[in-house]
Assembly symmetry: C2
Homo-oligomer: 600 residues x 2
């Protein structure tokens, strides 16, 4: 109750600020200055005003009304959290629900003022607002930060120390990367590049930070010309090592807070390349007024995705250690549940503790998903003290987890039988397994994109007229974001969305699933490294090298559904799991692993 | 020798005409007025001048030089046919070979004149020439037909009688089709449509002709406004039935030869929609000077591809009869070869004769491919009296053939064992079979395009690091072209090329293969009809209904390579073949079919 009162107060205060400044509509998206997928608490202004805690949502406020737009993952949660606040919930992509642009188009009237803070609003949204409302005779102000004055207990701005990666970790000097980016920049006719995407900056300069939980990035900008490179970081984040590194590499250090004045005062001698998908409105407008803007994908993105030999070698080692932790966890949870009362959260904590003890561990790569029974039907379930279920020796536990290590970022899902399972469950588990194995064992010609391969994972389910409503795989960073572009494995066609050819060194998840609402969820996820196979008269063949080596629960497999080829693939995979993981287990665990990885 | 003399004379005469008219470069592509894939002899001007008989090639002539560009299918043939003519061969897409545009860009000099006959040159080529040579200060003339005056024995212009399809064949009145096209036209903001693609015109007005061998089309144009529809055909092609039909349907008949003056005199009240892929330069320029041009895909194309219920029902019946003919042929060829001396051409003639005896037969849908042993490694092999091989009781014969029937167009390929086969052959035959069956049995969500599915047919080969260098499937017309767009099944990605979602009623070939140069070729081709399956919470599922029912040679299958699922698919298919085809066979054939379609 007191909480609701707080939200209502916050909205009222915001409306007061709007009135003072003559603003009719105020928009609060969910973003930091870098349009990051995950943001630190400092940037959770939409949550502060509305009380809605989901990771995606846009709040729109007028003098006598407020509305919140969010996606399907959060409908139930948003309904609960918005109760009593007076904020109307708009369920994105539901039939008959207007988009925020359509809503504004209908409601704004001539002479009104729409405002937002352009530093935390993406260019794409900014341009859409301009385009969609251009005939409405309204004023759009993009430099209005109304939160600062009313958010008195705003969390501190993060500024953790920045770490420089040595070459045995990065595998390639920053200078070499900068040279590649520069030559691509020149090739595309641009003279400057403003880089705001944090993981791209970290990759380019072989740096890492810890300003965003689970994402080892430092808040920063890079401005690259044909001769100079400027790195903007917070002075609090600078160490002596960083200073000497930047001097040595010819990187000019600048204060993070001065980016705007730098861009205002810079003497542009040509055009500036910007990535529309990862740029805020204020920076864009600042440059646009002073130089020609060339929108293009960040030239860093495709290189970052192709892990070099050092990165590949380090990832193999890291995935092995991570697989050991997950295998030990599976052993523990299966042995513990029948004898001891534990919960979803206990299981997650146990696994997190195993990872923390693992060599090179830095952080989780995302909060561990530990979802029992019907909870697993929600793809992004997070156990809370309210929902936390006790695990019993029946049904299944889905655990999706990963770590940030010195030498790689991991991600793995296993669905674990805790006791008796239904026939339907085992049937679905087997289809998911078939799909995962078929994709992992794919051979394909160079030139394929994820859309060519998706059906390998999906067809065992499609043959039963079933589907999972998400992509099959995403890219994964190297000591960076667990979701990394630009490559992916998905089936749906969008002619506006260019597809990315799968290149040697790209890392991808392979995670088909079955989600039966109110009943159960199944997902089996391995991470794979794309490699070159033979080249012959038919072309360059490609294949996937598995990085993940964790047993797949044979208790849940309906072996009569497996083809001879499926069996062979499973047995070969399990033989590798046994061979690679056993040396790191104790005698009991080893005996168990032997058993659960035996040929089916 | 006399032939070579003729070509050289023709080139000299052409150069004489060029000199008279002050033309430095003359371009002769291979096209008719409609940019058709296949053309009648009247339009084989490039062949007349150069002597090269392939179906694709562009000739460029200057005062002291001539060059011919053609693609990989014709390199060997073109080398032979051009010998002694002095014409230089340019092998398209070979390393270091300039395109015709690059060649011209390098060679033309300021003040020169480049000319071609815009009536037989596509708009795309015309626009590329303009764009590529715009800085060269040359003159491009597009209304220069230099062939008419020198081609004294030019074949006659075809003008076969036009046939009107009754509704039990077309399944939909022309008026209903016209209404659909008109509403789409208006939706896309155009006021007029000039339709020059012959099969689209035939489809729209429920007409058929026979001006191009194997392609039941009449040379014609359609000009559609919001109120009127004009059909341009040759007066010789008009029958009393056509006249009364057009009067009744409100179609205004015009003389084919008056299209240019019609377009010159028409009083345009808006913009004209044109399909860049199927329009000649002269018509385009004529309109462009008088009205705004909107380039768009022909609105007829996507509807034509989705066969209506009547068309589907007729195709089922036609494919059954056609499958009977091919089955009888396989029986005959397997029995005959060991006892009698026959050749590739004899086999083709026998099959053609069987088709001709079949109810509703009108024409072949393309010249029958009958390719023995290594000849089958050439995808488009055509036996000639020079190459015609004797068939012996060893190795395999590839037969790719089809017919035009009242009620459908067919296309089918079988590779037939004539005697002992190598182990490698049988292994490859089995991979091809697996791919064909896996694609034919695909279940997939609505929204998939051919690129999602291609890997189902290809992966048995890709897994062995082998490939076939062509698409897996093409669309097929209804009593129309055997190659029909816009849908296809292929894997390669081209972001400029929009993909087509597979819709209910689309007909597609499914023809994986193995081609081993100098050794053998394998192709197994069924035709499939795309259908809607169940719709559930996961979406609308789709599947393929096979139209072709011809036995697949079990003597060539290495059954140890088949999975249980493959066997089941093969056995089910063969059971259907036996059930459907047997009633039309004699006792001997029936006994044989029983045997060759038994479960494996």
């Amino acid at each position: 109750m007191s909480n609701l009162g707080k939200q209502t107060d916050n909205i009222k205060q915001l409306q007061g600020e709007m009135q003072k400044k003559g603003i009719d509509w105020y928009l609060i998206p969910t973003a930091d200055y870098h349009d990051s997928e995950y943001v630190t608490d400092y940037f959770k202004g939409r949550e502060f005003i509305s009380g809605f805690t989901g990771s995606n949502g846009t709040l729109l406020v007028s003098q006598n009304w407020a509305g919140l737009w969010t996606d399907g993952r959060y409908f139930i949660q948003a309904e609960q959290e918005l109760k009593g606040t007076g904020i109307t919930l708009y369920k994105m992509q539901e039939m008959g629900v207007p988009t925020i642009l359509a809503y504004l188009e209908e409601k704004v009237t001539s002479g009104q003022v729409l405002a937002y803070d352009g530093l935390v609003t993406g260019v794409k949204m900014g341009l859409q607002l301009e385009e969609r409302l251009k005939d409405k005779s309204i004023v759009i102000r993009y430099e209005e930060d109304l939160l600062s004055s009313i958010w008195t207990d705003r969390p501190a701005f993060p500024h953790q120390k920045i770490v420089v990666l040595p070459e045995e970790i990065s595998g390639e000097k920053a200078s070499a990367k900068i040279a590649k980016v520069r030559s691509q920049l020149i090739e595309s006719g641009a003279d400057y590049l403003l880089l705001t995407k944090l993981d791209d900056i970290m990759w380019l300069l072989n740096l890492r930070g810890s300003d965003i939980p689970c994402n080892p990035v430092a808040l920063s900008y890079v401005f690259l010309s044909k001769q100079e490179i400027y790195l903007f970081v917070q002075s609090e984040a600078i160490t002596a090592a960083l200073t000497s590194y930047t001097v040595q590499e010819g990187i000019c250090l600048q204060d993070y807070r001065t980016i705007l004045s730098f861009l205002q005062q810079y003497d542009y001698g040509g055009s500036v390349a910007l990535d529309k998908e990862h740029m805020n409105v204020t920076l864009y407008q600042t440059i646009r007024k002073r130089a020609e803007v060339l929108f293009m994908d960040n030239p860093t993105s495709l290189w970052k995705a192709q892990k070099n030999q050092t990165e590949q070698q380090n990832m193999r080692a890291v995935y092995l250690r991570d697989s050991v932790a997950v295998t030990k966890f599976i052993y523990w949870v299966k042995k513990t549940v029948p004898t001891k009362k534990i919960t979803e959260m206990d299981a997650a904590e146990y696994l997190d503790a195993l990872r923390k003890q693992t060599e090179g561990f830095l952080d989780l790569s995302f909060p561990t998903i530990s979802a029992y029974l019907e909870h697993a039907a929600m793809m992004h379930y997070q156990a809370t003290t309210e929902t936390n279920k006790s695990l019993e020796p029946k049904g299944s536990l889905l655990v999706d987890s990963g770590g940030q290590y010195r030498g790689g970022t991991t991600d793995v899902t296993r669905t674990i039988a805790l006791g008796p399972l239904t026939d339907a469950f085992c049937t679905h588990f087997t289809y998911v397994l078939q799909g995962m194995l078929r994709l992992q064992n794919a051979r394909f010609l160079y030139g394929c994109t994820g859309r060519n391969l998706d059906i390998l994972a999906r067809s065992p389910l499609w043959n039963q007229e079933m589907d999972y409503k998400c992509g099959t795989g995403h890219g994964i960073g190297y000591m960076l974001n667990v979701h990394e572009g630009p490559q992916s494995i998905r089936w749906s066609y969008d002619k506006e969305l260019p597809e990315i050819i799968l290149e040697e060194g790209m890392v991808l998840s392979n995670e088909p699933g079955v989600y039966i609402e109110h009943a159960y969820g199944i997902r089996t996820e391995n991470i794979m490294l794309c490699q070159k196979g033979h080249k012959n008269i038919d072309g360059q063949f490609m294949y996937f090298e598995p990085l993940t080596y964790v047993p797949i629960d044979r208790e849940a497999i309906k072996s009569s559904l497996l083809s001879q080829e499926d069996r062979q693939r499973l047995d070969e995979y399990h033989a590798q799991v046994s061979k690679r993981i056993s040396p790191y287990l104790n005698a009991e665990e080893k005996a168990w692993l032997q058993e659960v990885t035996a040929a089916i």
